[in-house]
Structures are given as C-alpha cells and as structure tokens.
C-alpha cells in the first residue's frame, strides 16, 4: 500500500514556519562562517519563501544544477577545505539552501527537517554555552513539531507543541543514560585540522587572557604521581613568572632567560610523570616548586621549567617537586623589578596601600600586609566572574574601587600592584591550579579551564611565598563557574566565608541558582570527559566495565530509562481540557438563566432536584441529564456515545416556567 500522506500538498503555513525557523537556527553561524556562504543560504531561503505565493518562480532542474555548482565553488573559494569543521559546516549550509529550493512535496520537508537537526549540531561545534544550548533546544522542539505536523492530515501546529514537548521530555531519560554511558575518547577519530589555534598559557598576560582560556575544556596535561598524591593546597602547576606591568599588561623580565640549578636540598617528596599536550610554547608545568628536573629541560631563575624547544607535539617528562620549597634568590635587579609600579598609580590605590601597611602594624614584614590586603578583598563586595566587563584607563584603580568584578588575573594583578605600592616585593605567577583525578586511570587531568594566575610575595627569611588572592573572595560571591576542585583546593592562605547574613539576599540566591545551572551544564555536559565518565562509573560500582560490558550496560540502562519514562506517562494524569466539566457548566448556566440558584458546593443530584421542583415539566430530561453526568463523571469507563448523548440533551434542554396554580 502506498503512503498517501506524503502525496498531500504542503501546507503553505507549515513551509513558511519551517523557513523562518531554519533562518533563526542559522543565525548564530554569522559568527563562524564566511558571510557569502550565509548570504547564499538566506537568499535561497527568501527565494523559496517567495515561491509559496508565486509557484511559477520555482527553480527548474537546470537552474538547481547551476546553483549547486556555484554553491560548491563558493564553499571552496570562501572557506577552503583546510579546516574540516568549517568546510563541512559551509557545505551543509549551502546544501540546506539548495534543498529549500527543491521542496515540492511533504517528503522534501521531512528531509529538510533532518538537515535542520544537523544544522543544530554544527552550531555546537563553535559554541557550547548554556544560552545557545537553550536557544537550540527550542529550535529542535520546533523542528520536531513540524515533523509531527507532517504526519497528520491536518498539520495544526499549535495542537502539536504540547505533545511534542512531552515526547522530547520522555526521550530525556534515555538520552541521559546514553550520554553518561557512551564511551568517550581521549583523542579524535581523525585529525582535527591544526589551523584551530592551540591554546595555552603564553609568557605574557593581558587582562582577559586567562578568562578566555578558561572557556576551553581542552586538556593541558595529564599527570601520574608515583607515591603520594598532592594535597589540594599543593596543586599549583607553576609556569612563567611575570614582573613588569603597566597596570593592564604583565610581561616577564626583560633580560634573557637565566637558568639556574634547581635549589633542592633534599629528595623530592612528590615525584610524577607529566604528559603535556602540544602548546606551541616552551613552558613545562611542574608542581610548585620543581626540584628534580627531567633531562633536556632547564629551570629559570624564577623556578619555571622550560623545554629545549617549542612543543608542537605531546611531550612526556618525569619530574620531582617539593611543595615546602621556596625560591630564595632575590638579587638587586629582581628586587627593583618586584617593586616596579605602573606609571600612573592613582592616589586612591596609594592611600589603600599605605592603609594596609598601617593596619598590619608590622613594619616591613610582608605577610601581615598581605593578609590585610586579602581581608580587603574579602570584606568588600568583590565578585568572581568570568565576564567582568571592560576596564578603562586605570584598570587597577577601577577594579579595586569601582567594578570589583573579575577573575584570577584581576585579583592577582591588583594584589601584586597593591603589595608593591605598600613596599612589599611581589610578582605574578601564571600556571594551572587544581585538576581532576581519574580514579580508573589513576592520573590527574589538568585542563585549560584550570589556567590560573596567582602571586608571590617576598617574605624575609622565607623567600618567595605564594599568596592566591582569588581564594580570598567570599564563596557566595563567586558568580561564575569555578570548579569545586579549585574552590576546595583553596590556597595556601585559606579564609573563612563572609558572615551568613548576606546569604539571605534573594538576588544573590538567584545568582546562585543561575550559577548552579551553569555549573551543572559545564560539569555534566560540556566538560563530561573520559575521566569524569570513569569516575562516575566507579561511583556506580561499574568501574570494571569496558567495551562490551559497557555497551550492554548502555543498552540495559537506556531501555530501563525509556520504560521508566512511559511508566510515568501511563500514570493517571489530571484530565486537561476535559469536555465533561464544560458540558456541566453549560448546563448550570442554563439553569441559572432560568432563574435557579446553583451553588458551587452543590452536587449534581441536589442541583437536578432543585431544578425539577421549579420545572416539573422538564423532569424527565433533568433526570436523564443527571444520570448521564453521574455515570460519566464517576463511572469506570467513558462511553463516547454517552458523552454525545449528554451534550445533545443539554443542548436541547428547554426550561419553560410551569403554569402552576399556587
């Protein structure tokens, strides 16, 4: 038997909605694709829209062929084929445009909807933010509504929205199980084009650099420890040290890198092997401070580990670190550098520095002054956020006194400046902090999102001492995601949270909820990695599952989830849009118009007997209505014919005043 549905004409409205929807789903690609590719799509889309009213403008076979050649040429010349992701997306976009010009039957719409799903997926290759995901989810819902509409005779889309949403929600449990259990790979199936810039920590820092870096979930390196694992407070992976600043930019010592021997006095308590992803830089990241260095690497005067040449492929090295060690060299040159201030330092900053020094009442002793500065951060409404907005000409002043919103580099940068203004030698350290333990593989994964900036102050008699001002921010002020690993890692200097009173702030709670959602999206969707998957399996007691076992668990789990969804769906639900109460209300309205007082609390029997006393002539009809209503309302099954009978009886009921002699 043939399929009669696909031969029905296309409802014009449905096609119009689909075209608008695809245009909306395409819009975020404006940031990613060559404008000419996008223009091709939108022109094709507008053309097809016109054809709805002017069918004679439908392009013919030859026109389409020419357009297809033009589209391929457009992709090759505008985008090229070097970057597989971009070329693939551009190809999909022009093909979707061509497909629109080919829509003649319902069948074509179905295929177009499928391409729409694919389009949604390509958006995720460029941006994975929660906001975009919500936007696209609504788009997927709308696409599915159209798809469902195609399989009805009368494609009434409004009716379908609720049903389709229900279908998608019912699909969520199964999708989640598959998402959590589907094996994740550490490396791509085929090489991803290298034109995608390698991100990583460089040897300069401008405000905003690290914030950008932390958006990336790319792995920076993996570390396997031999023997003891580092404490949370010890997980600072040290990179370049920055000295010179103009308030906004930080750069290293101007002199060529000077190498020293690591200043280890005893055997390294922590020994580990690190596999670094290609970074294009020479920096190797060792746990603070490195004492045993691998062959072919060197340590600079700041205690940072460097490879012999830039790292363009994975690099594995063994090193040893001593967390108790402090760098103890401070030559006169470094001393001068460690006190260098931006040329313009506002009086407010200077006053604050002097005040911190005064409050510390410790003379030149660095630590009490540092603690005073951290107290300042803690007690004023500083917010940790990855979207701090831009700062003007004097970023330190503006950040410390006005915006008070920023992330690690803002805090570390202004802290170092403040320390220097208070006469304490200080410097800025770039690196990574935290990391995630993979219990199955037994190694730590450090990602670009773990990039961090902290500071070191010179403490007489102790040497360079790490102070992490970001950790001083009151936890409830952390507006943007910050890995729990990092927040529990704290820092060498750990402070208590701010007083409880502020927590009651409603607005802050809203921020917290938004943050929790965002964090959840980040932790459970974007950042869900092979490591996190194996630790989840470990928690579920499925840690030993691999390959086939995992596949079977996936199947069982997905089936159970689907079954669960439909068990829930089968539960008796409140009958929405039930015609019975509406009929009853129509009946009550009729009675009221006939002058009978009906109260909301009265039952059907009472109402009918009241009406019968008033209109004995209509007794038979009233009794019949009552009987039908009670049967339908309280009976086990609803007979549609009874429903119709009741509807009919209520419609024809006439209440004429009885001529009673009284």
């Amino acid at each position: 038997m043939r399929d009669a549905l696909s031969m029905l004409p296309i409802p014009g409205r449905l096609l119009g909605v689909l075209l608008v929807l695809l245009a909306a789903l395409m819009a975020p690609h404006a940031l990613n694709l060559n404008p000419s590719v996008l223009a091709f799509f939108y022109i094709a889309s507008a053309w097809r829209m016109l054809v709805i009213w002017r069918p004679q403008w439908m392009p013919g076979r030859w026109t389409l062929l020419l357009l297809m050649i033009a589209a391929l040429a457009l992709v090759v010349f505008s985008t090229g084929v070097a970057d597989g992701r971009l070329a693939g997306t551009a190809l999909l976009v022009v093909m979707l445009g061509l497909k629109l010009l080919e829509i003649r039957a319902r069948r074509d719409i179905q295929v177009t909807v499928f391409l729409g799903y694919f389009l949604v997926m390509t958006q995720f290759l460029y941006d994975q933010s929660l906001a975009l995901a919500i936007y696209l989810f609504v788009g997927v819902l709308a696409l599915t509504v159209i798809q469902v509409g195609l399989n009805r005779v009368h494609a009434d889309m409004r009716v379908q929205v609720r049903k389709t949403a229900g279908m998608l929600i019912a699909a969520l449990p199964m999708a989640s199980v598959m998402f959590l259990l589907f094996p994740r790979l550490d490396s791509p199936l085929w090489a991803i084009s290298s034109s995608a810039a390698v991100t990583g920590i460089g040897d300069e820092m401008s405000l905003g650099d690290i914030g950008e870096l932390t958006q990336s979930d790319a792995v920076a390196f993996r570390v396997r420890f031999f023997g003891p694992q580092p404490e949370p407070t010890q997980r600072y992976w040290r990179g370049p040290v920055l000295w010179r600043t103009d308030g906004r930019h930080w750069s290293p010592d101007i002199r060529p890198i000077r190498y020293t021997q690591p200043a280890g006095r005893r055997a390294a308590p922590l020994s580990y092997e690190t596999t670094l992803e290609p970074s294009g830089e020479r920096w190797l990241f060792g746990l603070d401070m490195v004492v045993d260095i691998p062959p072919n690497t060197r340590v600079d005067a700041n205690g940072a580990l460097l490879a012999a040449e830039r790292l363009n492929k994975r690099f594995t090295y063994r090193a040893g670190s001593d967390p108790e060690m402090h760098a103890t060299t401070l030559g006169s040159h470094e001393h001068a550098l460690a006190l260098q201030l931006p040329e313009r330092l506002s009086p407010r900053v200077q006053r604050l520095a002097a005040q911190l020094r005064g409050d510390a009442r410790a003379g030149d002793d660095a630590m009490p002054i540092a603690l005073q500065a951290l107290k300042y951060f803690r007690e004023n409404p500083f917010v940790y956020t990855l979207s701090p907005g831009t700062l003007g000409s004097d970023p330190v002043d503006e950040f410390l006194f006005e915006t008070r919103r920023g992330f690690c580099e803002h805090y570390a940068g202004s802290f170092v400046t403040l320390m220097r203004a208070a006469g304490v030698p200080a410097r800025l350290v770039l690196g990574y902090q935290g990391g995630e333990y993979n219990p199955r593989a037994g190694h730590w994964v450090v990602r670009q999102s773990d990039a961090h900036a902290w500071s070191e102050v010179w403490v007489a008699g102790q040497g360079w001492t790490r102070v992490d001002p970001t950790a001083a921010i009151a936890p409830e002020r952390i507006e943007h995601r910050i890995d729990t690993v990092r927040s529990q890692a704290g820092a060498q200097v750990v402070f208590q949270a701010a007083p409880d009173g502020v927590l009651s702030d409603l607005l802050r709670n809203a921020v917290w909820i938004a943050d929790a959602v965002d964090l959840g999206w980040h932790r459970w969707v974007i950042g869900f990695s092979a490591e996190r998957q194996s630790s989840l399996l470990q928690t579920l007691g499925l840690g030993n599952l691999r390959g086939l076992g995992l596949a079977i668990a996936l199947l069982i789990g997905a089936t159970l989830a689907a079954a669960l969804a439909y068990l829930i769906a089968r539960l008796p639900k409140p009958i929405v849009n039930d015609p019975l109460p509406r009929m009853w209300n129509r009946f009550i309205d009729k009675l009221r118009r006939a002058g009978i007082t009906v109260h909301g609390w009265q039952g059907a029997d009472t109402v009918c007997s009241t009406a019968m006393q008033r209109y004995p002539a209509a007794s038979d009809q009233l009794v019949a209505i009552n009987r039908l209503y009670v049967q339908l309302r309280y009976g086990r099954r609803r007979d549609p014919r009874q429903m119709q009978a009741l509807r009919h009886r209520i419609r024809v009921l006439r209440l004429r005043p009885a001529r009673q002699a009284r």
Partner: protein, 311 residues
Amino acid sequence: MSLSSFARVEQSAGDGRVEVGARRIYILPTRYGVIYAVLLFLMLLGAVNYGNNPSHLLTFLLGALGSNAIYLTWRNLRGTRMRCLGSAPVFAGQPAVFVVEFQGDERERPGLQIGLDDCEPVLLDLEATQTERRELRIDGLPRGLHPTGRLVLSTQYPVGLFRAWCYVECAQPMLVYPRPGERWNVPGTEAGTRDGEGDGGGTEDFAGLRRYLPGDQPSRIDWKSYARDRGLNTRLFSSHALAPVWLDWEDAPGAGVEAKLSALCRAVLDAERAGREYGLRLPQGLVSPGSGPAHRHQCLRQLALHGSEHA
C-alpha cells in the same frame, strides 16, 4: 500460497466491529527512518571526533526520540475501534463504495490511513470521542458477491520514522448486480394484458412515496417533497389493476449468460419503475411476483449470484 496469507489478521465481528489488538500490529522503519538513522550516525561521528558533548547530547536525544517513536507509532494504532459498514449493492461497472466507520476513544489518533491492499489509502485524523466515516472506492468489480478483501490500516504518526500497520478482514461481502442491458419488450407487459377496465382517472393510482433509489425515473420524483427538504422521494403508483409480469430466462434476448442477465436486470428495473408486480423465472428457480425495493433487491441479487454457489 503467498507469504501474506500467514499474516496476523484482525477479523471483524458479525456486526463489522473491529478493535485493533496489540499483537496484530506490524511495524517497520520507513524510508525516512532509515535516512534518520544514517543522519544520527553521522552526527555521532562528528560528536565523537570533536569530543563535543552538547552534540553527543543532541544525538542521543534524537536517538531516544526515534526509538520511542516505535512505541508511539504502535500505540497510535493499538485499540483503534472501527466498524465495517459494508457497501450498498452496485451495478457492474459502477464503483463499489465500501464504508468504514471509526469510533474515537479517549485518545486522538491522527494520521490514520485505511485502504485495500493495492489501492490508494484514505486518510483521517481521528479525534478523541468522535465518529468518522470513510469511503473506499473499489472499481471494476464484476457481477457477483465479492469478499471485501484485506483492509490495511496504517499510521506513521507521530514522527514518520516508523510505519505501523495491521490487516483487517471485514465479514461483509460486496454485492455487484449485473450491468443493466438494453431495454427490451418483455412478454406480458403489453396493454392487452390489462386486467379489468380502466377507471378513467388514469391507469395508475398514486399509492405513496418511498425514498429515491438510483435508477428511478426522474419523472417519478416527487419534487414537492424535495422542495420541502424531505429528500428525494419517488412517487409510487398502485398497480393492483395489472397482472404480474413474469421475467423469464428463456425470453431474455442476447447470447450468453451475461447478456441474458443484463437484459433481465434491465427488465427488473423497468418493471419496478413502472410499478408493476413482477416475478423472476431463472434456471435455478423462481422468485415469486412482488414489487418494492426489497423485492427488487431480491431479484437483482438472484441475477448477481447466478452461477455461483451462493445462489
């Protein structure tokens, strides 16, 4: 014996009622279902290659939707209640119209397709608690009593990725009368056979109205009652004055069985229209004289079944 004779078939009850049972439903992916699966596979490849988790999630969401569609499509058919109302008898050459009535229950069932095995199916969106009728036209049936054949009730709702279908066999056969032939002179219809005197008021007396039947003479239609919105009616005239006409197989012109049957069919129609009482004399037996729609049907039925074991 074809494979389809092993199919599970839903048999209608005596009154034509059918409720589609859960275990009588077949389901297979459609062409779109296959395309969809290929598309999801490509999406998964992309998601895995780029280690892109939102893409994983989207792919799995669509995958779960597709897999749930098996259940949803099946459920759209399961428990559908319908009734085969059968078809009114037709003359050979006319299309038979087979009527099926759907009785909505508490669930709406959109996108149903019903048709005979090899015919263009008829579509409907069955609303909850509504009753809908659909007519299936069957062309080119020869004279005789025909089993309805196997109806196929199918749906692709909601997502078109799967097609669920079931076979329904209706008990009501379709009766096809012979094709009416050329008009001929039946012995015994001449004026001379009139019994008794004419009463001056015309040869026939008005005897009442009955509902119009296809084949009635337009001149006999009672246009007054039609104008009063009572539908098409045919005026009947009493023919008590006339002796019954015997329509005899031997008298019927034409060579061959079908030609004779056509001629007799025409004669039955003419006699009925003329308001005469008529009887049928066939090789297999007699139909005693009478008139009226039931009698006409009885005669035409005998003609239709001539030569078959139903006769």
